[in-house]
């Protein structure tokens, strides 16, 4: 029992409640409280990131002890993989709140913004900490409903349309997930992930569960915007206010999409070859099609949104390769390498894509447009934005000193070692096209001086925005340290251990 675990959910929910009540009476209460909350949670999550290791801590809500080794209460579980995603959520969330302090001033209803932001953080923390399926669903809905509202926060034509589209597809995903949960409960009579795994051990009806696996894959795939389900993502991510785009793209699609897919398919279902080949195919499709859709875009945020699909494709591809190797039962070192590459890229993507969206927001904040053709020559007037976005662009395209290079390298090495030469080749090609696309972004936004009509008084953005962009770019450089053995063993290896050992998760939770 670790009594601090529920704080990750309780503090943001209380914060949202207090902001709604007291925010209108006390000046600056909303931003102070939100940044304080996120600071506390970020410190707490980083503390757990460095101390958890191979341990697994539990919190049984309401103190319900298991009866005959069958868990009857709600479990919150924190293990090596959870803490990684938890740190991403809270650290990126903290930097984004600092950024919003200046950015969101031009909107009315700041209270609502901060309250919804806290709700979204609380929901995502709940999703990653929850140890049973139905709570994953409940917290997922908390975070996505607040993100529907946040996408529509500008209440103009585009924002509302994007939010409506997002709601239809998100709602469809929720029903598919709920159906899947229903089928699981029908067969196993339990909702606890560890307990379901225990039931599966005594007999796994593959022809029945493959249907459930497909339901979950479609549902969470819609939330994660894997390619056949991606239609909502470019609209929603480009229409939302920029800090929210950074949260949606950097954190939300990972916490409620990719994280749950990885958790369920490794720790709950038995890995089957068909599903793992399907997941790898979807990942490859996302990676390739996403980048081709991104090439032709002239709206910066839409370009970044399509790159999110493509980069998430790398993560899915790496994890899928690991699943194929595990289901074949050979090459476990290569499987570990592939999954490590996937999780590493997940962390890196949060850093550089969050930063890129913050840069896009800074550009939009100063010159008021998102169209690349109307920009140019911003490098001189906005040096910090230009430098940080250069770091992020090089990082996402996989240029050596930055973090994106190392994770892509690990994924490609794993693909070659597993003899998936075609996938390795595609990963390299997609990386090159990404580089081309971001060179275009850099050139048109910061260096192109052909029509220099923007020479009016363009100033650099205010200090809080600069601060969070600089910290994010330092993270982009610092995260490449994760590739080196000493640090990787502390941070990444526990996550991989809990995922690749099929029975460890359930046996620790059930206590045998």
């Amino acid at each position: 029992m670790n009594p601090l675990i529920p704080l990750f959910v309780v503090i943001p929910l209380t914060g949202a409640f207090l902001i709604m009540i007291l925010g209108r009476f006390i000046r600056n209460f909303n931003k102070t409280l939100t940044s304080l909350i996120l600071l506390i949670l970020a410190i707490l999550s980083l503390y757990y990131l460095f101390t958890t290791g191979d341990n697994l801590s539990l919190y049984k809500v309401g103190g319900w002890e298991p009866v005959n080794r069958v868990p009857i209460g709600i479990y919150m579980v924190m293990d090596g993989f959870t803490v990684i995603v938890l740190s991403i959520i809270n650290v990126v969330g903290f930097l984004t709140v600092l950024y919003s302090i200046s950015y969101i001033k031009r909107f009315t209803a700041e209270n609502l913004f901060y309250a919804l932001f806290c709700l979204m953080i609380g929901g995502m923390n709940g999703v990653v900490l929850s140890g049973d399926l139905f709570n994953i669903f409940v917290f997922l809905e908390i975070s996505v409903i607040s993100s529907y509202a946040l996408v529509a926060f500008g209440v103009e034509k585009n924002e509302l349309e994007a939010s409506f589209k997002y709601q239809i597809l998100g709602g469809l995903a929720s029903f598919l997930i709920l159906f899947g949960i229903g089928f699981i409960y029908w067969k196993t009579k339990t909702l606890n992930i560890a307990d379901i795994r225990e039931v599966f051990k005594s007999g796994y009806d593959r022809s029945f569960y493959i249907f459930v696996e497909l339901l979950f894959l479609c549902g969470f795939g819609l939330k994660a915007a894997i390619i056949p389900f991606h239609a909502w993502l470019p609209d929603a991510h480009s229409s939302a206010p920029s800090p929210i785009s950074a949260m949606l793209s950097g954190v939300l699609i990972k916490a409620v999409g990719i994280y749950v897919i990885i958790r369920l398919f490794f720790n709950m279902f038995e890995i089957s070859q068909n599903i793992s080949i399907l997941i790898t195919t979807l990942g490859t499709l996302s990676m390739v099609i996403g980048v081709f859709l991104a090439i032709g875009q002239w709206d910066i945020k839409r370009l970044l949104a399509y790159h999110s699909i493509s980069q998430m494709g790398y993560v899915i591809l790496a994890v899928g390769m690991g699943m194929i190797l595990i289901s074949r039962g050979d090459n476990s070192e290569v499987a570990v390498l592939a999954i490590a590459g996937g999780i590493f890229h997940l962390v890196n993507h949060a850093a550089f894509k969050g930063l890129l969206f913050l840069n896009a927001g800074a550009i939009e904040y100063t010159i008021g447009t998102r169209d690349l053709k109307e920009m140019g020559g911003l490098a001189r007037s906005m040096p910090v934005t230009s430098a940080t976005s250069f770091i992020a662009s090089m990082s996402i395209s996989g240029i050596p000193p930055f973090n994106g290079f190392f994770s892509k390298l690990i994924i490609i090495i794993a693909a070659v070692m597993a003899k998936f030469y075609l996938l390795a080749l595609l990963a390299v090609i997609v990386s090159i096209i990404t580089l081309a696309s971001f060179l275009k972004f850099q050139r048109y936004a910061f260096y192109n001086k052909t029509e220099n009509k923007n020479d009016r008084k363009i100033k650099e953005v205010p200090f809080p925005m600069i601060f969070s962009m600089v910290i994010m770019s330092l993270l982009c450089i610092a995260l490449s340290l994760l590739a080196f053995p000493g640090i990787r063993d502390v941070l990444l290896t526990p996550a991989i251990n809990i995922l690749t050992d099929p029975l460890k998760y359930s046996s620790i939770i059930l206590g045998n």
């Binding site: 409940v138 409903i145 709601q167 709920l178 470019p234 032709g296």
Partner: protein, 112 residues
């Protein structure tokens, strides 16, 4: 078994509505139909043939109760469904104010 089939048919009716309807409000209604087919499915899997409501009475011991857990889940899911429907309706009203129409064919600013 027939009840499960009806539940599935209800789901398909909702899906058909979402795909074919042009009116935003009708799309929202179709979403609700899909939602309720899911809730119906949960109520069905908790039902046990010949079971009674799970209130234990020591004086009259009954052998079979229906499973109460899916009912609790459905209650939670209904509350969530209320929130999604309210959110969607709010956005639809705002969309109507901006575009002056409920027709989804005329609401297409975002392309590509």
């Amino acid at each position: 078994m027939i009840a499960y089939l009806l539940c599935f048919v209800l789901f398909l009716v909702g899906l058909y509505g979402i795909i074919t309807q042009r009116n935003l409000v009708k799309i929202a209604i179709s979403m609700s139909i899909m939602e309720f087919s899911t809730f119906l499915f949960f109520a069905l899997i908790g039902y046990i043939e010949g079971g009674v409501a799970p209130i234990v009475d020591p004086a009259d011991p009954v052998k079979t109760y229906v499973d109460p857990l899916p009912q609790a889940l459905v209650l939670t899911a209904i509350v969530i469904g209320l929130a999604t429907t309210a959110m969607m309706m709010a956005v639809i009203i705002r969309l109507y104010r901006k575009y002056g129409t409920f027709d989804i064919r005329e609401i297409k600013n975002l392309r590509g």
